[in-house]
C-alpha cells in the first residue's frame, strides 16, 4: 500500500475515535462537549510525557492516558450534571482553554509552545514501512474496539435510557433511573476514548504542541460527526474519513490560488470548513448515514 494512503487512513482512524467519542456524549446522551480538544490533548500529553520522561512502555502509557482522560471527564461532568446543556457547552469550552493555558505555561513539564518531540511509536519507528503498517493496523483495531464498545452502549438497555434522557431532558421518561450515574459513566467513557485518540496521535506523529489542540480541532470532529450522522457510530466513522478527504482536498487551494499568502490559504481553508459545517447543519442535519431509531 502507498505510504500516503496509509498515512491518510491512519489519520482518519484517529479522527474516527474522536468522532465516536463525541457521538457517545453528544450523539447518544445529548451532552455537548465543546472541549473535546482539551481531552484529546490530555491523552496526547499524558502518553507523550510518560514515555519520553519516565520511559514507560507505550501500551502502559496509553492505558494511563485513557484513565486520566476518564477521570478528568468524570470530574468535569460532576459539576455540570444538574445543569442545562448550554452550561455544559460553556464549561467544556472553558475546560479546554484552561488545559491549553496550562500546556503553554508549564514549561518545565510540557516545554510550552515548543512542544514535545521524539515520542516513541507504538510500533518502533525503525521498522519504517512496518511502523506505518503496524500503526495503521493498531489504529484500526482501536477504532474497532471503540466502535464495539460504543455500539454496545447504543444498543443496550442502558443506551435506551441514554436516548430517553437525550430526547426528554426534563427526565420524565426515565423517572426512577439514576440519570446522574448514567450520564457520568457515558461522559467518562467518551473522554477516555478522546484521550486514546490523543495518545495515538502523539505516538503516530512523534510530535505534539499546543498549536495542534486548538478549538478548531473540536470543530473538525463536530463536522465529521455531523456529516456522518449524529447518533450513529457508523456515521461517526464514515464522517471521519469524509473529513480527511475534505481536508486533503483543500490542499489544492494553495496551488490554484498562488496570488495569496500561506496565511490566506489557511484562512480560506478554515472558512471552507465553516461553510461546509453550516451547509450540513442547514441542509443535511441528520448526516449521510442518519441514526436509525431503536425501540
Amino acid at each position: 500500500m502507498d505510504s500516503y494512503l496509509i498515512a491518510m487512513v491512519t489519520l482518519a482512524a484517529i479522527y474516527a475515535m474522536m468522532a465516536i467519542s463525541l457521538n457517545l456524549s453528544w450523539g447518544l446522551a445529548g451532552m455537548v462537549n465543546l472541549g473535546l480538544a482539551g481531552f484529546i490533548s490530555i491523552g496526547a500529553y499524558a502518553s507523550g510525557l510518560l514515555t519520553t520522561v519516565l520511559g514507560w512502555p507505550v501500551p502502559l502509557a496509553i492505558l494511563a492516558a485513557m484513565i486520566i482522560g476518564l477521570v478528568s471527564g468524570v470530574a468535569l461532568t460532576y459539576v455540570t450534571l444538574r445543569l442545562r446543556d448550554d452550561y455544559l457547552a460553556i464549561v467544556t469550552l472553558g475546560f479546554a482553554e484552561v488545559i491549553r493555558l496550562a500546556i503553554v505555561n508549564e514549561l518545565w513539564l510540557t516545554h510550552g509552545s515548543d512542544g514535545i518531540s521524539g515520542i516513541p511509536g507504538i510500533v518502533a519507528r525503525e521498522y519504517g514501512y512496518g511502523f506505518e503498517l503496524g500503526t495503521l493496523a493498531l489504529a484500526l483495531a482501536a477504532v474497532a474496539l471503540c466502535y464495539w464498545l460504543a455500539d454496545r452502549v447504543r444498543t443496550s438497555p442502558y443506551g435506551r435510557n441514554l436516548r430517553a434522557i437525550r430526547d426528554d431532558p426534563e427526565g420524565t421518561a426515565v423517572a426512577g433511573k439514576n440519570v446522574t450515574l448514567i450520564k457520568v459513566k457515558t461522559f467518562g467513557l467518551s473522554t477516555a476514548i478522546a484521550a486514546l485518540a490523543g495518545a495515538f496521535y502523539a505516538h503516530y506523529t512523534s510530535f505534539i504542541s499546543p498549536e495542534i489542540f486548538q478549538p478548531l480541532l473540536t470543530m473538525y470532529v463536530f463536522l465529521a460527526l455531523t456529516m456522518g450522522g449524529t447518533g450513529n457510530n457508523r456515521g461517526a466513522m464514515l464522517g471521519a474519513f469524509l473529513l480527511i478527504f475534505v481536508l486533503e482536498a483543500s490542499r489544492f487551494i494553495a496551488p490554484s490560488l498562488p496570488q495569496f499568502s500561506a496565511v490566506q490559504h489557511a484562512a480560506i481553508r478554515e472558512m471552507l470548513v465553516a461553510v461546509l459545517f453550516i451547509l450540513t447543519l442547514l441542509y443535511r442535519p441528520q448526516g449521510i448515514s442518519p441514526e436509525t431509531r431503536h425501540r
Partner: protein, 288 residues
C-alpha cells in the same frame, strides 16, 4: 500591600466595564434566543477591525470608531442570524450553539484573510499616566471605561423607557405571549441580534484601544465574558454588569497569587464555582 490591592481593584473596575459591554450583548441574546451564541467572539473581532479601520485609515477619534465597530458588528450579527440561525430557529439550542461556533470560525478567518495574523494598534494619542495618591491610572483605560459606561447608560434608557425596549424584555420573558400581544417577535429577534452583536463589536474596539487587535481577539476574552454572564445569571442584564465587574476585579486580583498568564483561567474557575453553589447566578431567577 493595600496600595497594590487598591491599584488592582481600580484596574479591575476599568477592565470590568469593557467586559460588561460584551457580557450585556451575550446575555441579552441568550434571553431572547435561548442559546449561548459563541459567535460573539468573532463579532467582537469584526467590530474591532471596523473601528481600527475607521480610526487609522479615516482618522476618526475613538468614540466615532466605537460607533463604527458597533454598527458593523451589529450588521454582521443581523446577517449571520438571517443566513444561518434563522433557518435553525426550531432546532435544539445546542445545534444553534454549534452553528454559532462555525460562524465565529468564518468571521475570524475572513479577518485573517484580509488582515493577516499580525497585531495592529489603534492610532491614539499617548498620554502619561495620571497619578492620584498612590493610584496610577492610564488615561486610555479611563476613557475606555467611560465610553463603556456611556454605552451601558444608553442601553439602560432604551430598555427601561422605550416601548421597543419593553418589547425586547417582554419577548425575552415569554415570546409566545409577546406575539399574542401583537409584537413581531422575529423583528425583535433581529433587533436583539443587532444590538447584542453591536455591543460585542463595541467591546472589541475598546479592548483593541487598550492593547491591540488580532483575529482571535474575541476568543481570548470570551471565557471572561461568559463567566460574567453566568455569574450574574444567564439572561439577566444587571447581573451581567455586576458579574463583569466582579470578574474584572478577580482577574486582576488573581495576579497576586498566580502568574498573569493564567488570567484566562480565572473565568473558568468562577464559572465552576458559581455553577456548583448558586447555578442561577447572582440575579438569575430562571431555573437551570
Amino acid at each position: 500591600m493595600i496600595e497594590t490591592i487598591l491599584q488592582l481593584a481600580a484596574n479591575g473596575i476599568m477592565s470590568g466595564a469593557v467586559l460588561a459591554v460584551a457580557a450585556i450583548g451575550f446575555t441579552m441574546m441568550f434571553a431572547v434566543l435561548r442559546f449561548p451564541n459563541f459567535s460573539l467572539a468573532g463579532h467582537m473581532a469584526g467590530g474591532a477591525y471596523a473601528g481600527w479601520i475607521a480610526n487609522t485609515m479615516f482618522g476618526l477619534p475613538l468614540p466615532l470608531a466605537l460607533l463604527c465597530g458597533f454598527l458593523v458588528a451589529g450588521g454582521i450579527g443581523v446577517a449571520s442570524d438571517f443566513i444561518v440561525l434563522r433557518p435553525l430557529r426550531r432546532a435544539a439550542p445546542i445545534t444553534l450553539a454549534i452553528a454559532s461556533v462555525a460562524i465565529s470560525l468564518f468571521i475570524e478567518n475572513a479577518l485573517r484573510f484580509g488582515f493577516g495574523n499580525d497585531l495592529r494598534s489603534f492610532d491614539l494619542p499617548l498620554a502619561r499616566d495620571w497619578v492620584i495618591g498612590w493610584l496610577r491610572l492610564g488615561p486610555q483605560q479611563v476613557q475606555n471605561a467611560g465610553l463603556a459606561i456611556v454605552a451601558m447608560l444608553i442601553l439602560f434608557v432604551i430598555f427601561t423607557f422605550t416601548q421597543t425596549g419593553r418589547a425586547m424584555r417582554a419577548t425575552a420573558d415569554n415570546a409566545g405571549l409577546a406575539a399574542v400581544k401583537g409584537i413581531d417577535t422575529e423583528k425583535i429577534t433581529r433587533l436583539v441580534s443587532f444590538l447584542g452583536m453591536g455591543l460585542a463589536g463595541a467591546a472589541g474596539v475598546l479592548l483593541g484601544a487598550d492593547t491591540s487587535i488580532e483575529p482571535l481577539l474575541g476568543l481570548k476574552v470570551i471565557l471572561s465574558v461568559f463567566a460574567a454572564a453566568v455569574l450574574g445569571g444567564l439572561g439577566s442584564i444587571p447581573g451581567a454588569v455586576l458579574g463583569a465587574f466582579a470578574i474584572g476585579i478577580v482577574e486582576e486580583a488573581s495576579q497576586i497569587v498566580v502568574p498573569a498568564t493564567y488570567k484566562g483561567a480565572v473565568g473558568f474557575v468562577a464559572i465552576l464555582l458559581v455553577l456548583s453553589f448558586r447555578p442561577s447566578g447572582f440575579l438569575g431567577r430562571r431555573q437551570t
